[in-house]
Amino acid sequence: MFLGASIANSLDERTILWERFECEAMPHASSLFRIARWLTRNQSDAEDLLQETLIEALSSFHRFSEGTNCRAWLVTILYHHHSKRRRAQSHLHLVSDEQERIAETIAFEPSTPQNLTDEDVLSALRRIPRAFQEVVILADVEGLSYKEIAEATQVPIGTVMSRISRGRKLLRTELATYAREHGFGGVA
């Protein structure tokens, strides 16, 4: 631990803490913003959430162990703040049985279409249920491991793994359907 359990008191200590925070935490700001933007669905709320996350991270940074995964730590803080906000707004975040059933019905492995535009890819991702979007984004876009996703989202790792698998399959199905409907795709 960088400063042990102590809190940075002198200007020198605070300066060193900031330098370390800037090197280790700040490079992840863009990634955190994208996750915050997806969670809140709103630019202004995403900015507030990111701000709260980084302030909390800065205040707790003396407890962060050097050499551990800083981004996963930050994502966990971000999810924690997001949950607090949702509780305050009395929203519930549940995966409906219907969504799980839809995913279960994808019985075959569709091929991965090619020759798609960026918009095709984004709209296909937006069409799959949010619980599956979430894990696909965290795993395949932001590069979190299954374990890190489980810790951040407070979902059992087995559920995370099955959602990732189903989410990818749903995404390929959406894209394959789109490619077939539009008569292209070069499906492998």
Partner: protein, 304 residues
């Protein structure tokens, strides 16, 4: 293994989450089934495409003015004693954007004078640190060397389609560069980030350029550490730091892969991966000390 089994498990294989036995079955099936080979390549490419598309989507971009303001706020808070006390931060109203702006404005004014002096005094030190945030990119990361390193990572570690067969690192050390001797030992016995797993090492050639290629696994992704001769245009390279000084590590992206690099007098070192922003740089920092120490030792004239 049948094609339907392959397709069912292909994503786990890409994630490096399959067992050694399954990997062997996969490799055998891939060698013998062009359709699944194409599907595998399509899945890998789709992941890169998804990442690039999502990362570039306009709604996912932070407003530059917000990013600047946030960084300034955090910097100011970090220098104020209260900011390092968790309880005081917890007492902050939820949205500093709206409710504490006036207070921050006053605080920022008071801190500005201190900050200016502080920033000026740090300018030289920051230059010796990562240029990731400062926006100053040493040119090595933009050279053809870096592009070749990314190409080698893609074609050798990810897609197994190099034109020439790779060779044993010790054999290559005898023929081409004695710095390759014990390189793996130096790196793996040095300081490695928790979670970094050594996979294999060899020497390979990408577009006529020879690399010592060490492959690691980190957070389910393959990471390449590539060492090659540092023969980029010397006029374009940053100065190699004096012994004992921190090395400049620069970070960039090519073809959807992140590449971080540092150098010694005779070698350029690249860390290439599919990892997201910042993590590749963190890995490069973790490797830097042991790799530089090893290479510098090998570059010293032999004494008899």
């Amino acid at each position: 293994m049948h094609c339907y089994q392959f397709r069912e498990m292909a994503d786990s294989y890409v994630d490096l989450e399959t067992s050694a036995n399954t990997n062997r079955e996969f490799a055998y099936h891939l060698d013998n089934c062009p359709v699944c080979r194409e599907e595998m390549a399509a899945r890998r490419e789709f992941r890169i495409r998804l990442r690039e598309t999502w990362t570039k989507a306009p709604e996912n971009q932070m407003r530059p003015e917000f990013a600047d303001r946030l960084r300034g706020q955090l910097h100011s808070l970090s220098l104020s004693k209260a900011s390092t006390n968790t309880s005081s931060v917890k007492n902050h109203p939820r949205s500093l954007n709206l409710q504490r702006r006036w207070l921050l404005t006053v605080a920022a004014s008071l801190i500005l004078a201190i900050a200016i002096g502080f920033v000026l005094s740090r300018v030289m030190r920051i230059k010796n640190k990562s240029d990731y945030e400062s926006g100053v990119m040493p040119d090595l990361v933009k050279t053809e060397l870096a592009k070749s390193a990314v190409g080698d990572h893609r074609d050798c570690a990810i897609q197994f389609r190099l034109a020439e067969r790779s060779t044993n690192l010790d054999e290559a050390a005898l023929k081409y560069d004695h710095a390759y001797i014990d390189l793996v030992k130096s790196v793996t016995s040095g300081e490695m980030l928790p979670g970094v797993e050594f996979v294999k090492a060899h020497s390979c050639i990408f577009q006529q350029r020879r690399f010592a290629h060490l492959i690691f696994k980190y957070h389910g992704q393959l990471v390449s550490l590539l060492v090659t001769d540092n023969d980029a245009d010397p006029g374009k390279l940053p100065t190699v730091p004096a012994s004992g000084q921190p090395n400049v590590i620069a970070c960039s992206s090519f073809d959807g892969y992140r590449v971080s690099c540092f150098q010694t007098a005779r070698h350029a070192v690249f860390v290439v991966s599919d990892l997201a922003d910042g993590e590749n740089l963190t890995l490069a920092r973790a490797f830097e000390s042991s790799v530089v120490e090893h290479l510098t030792r090998s570059e010293e004239p032999a004494s008899f």
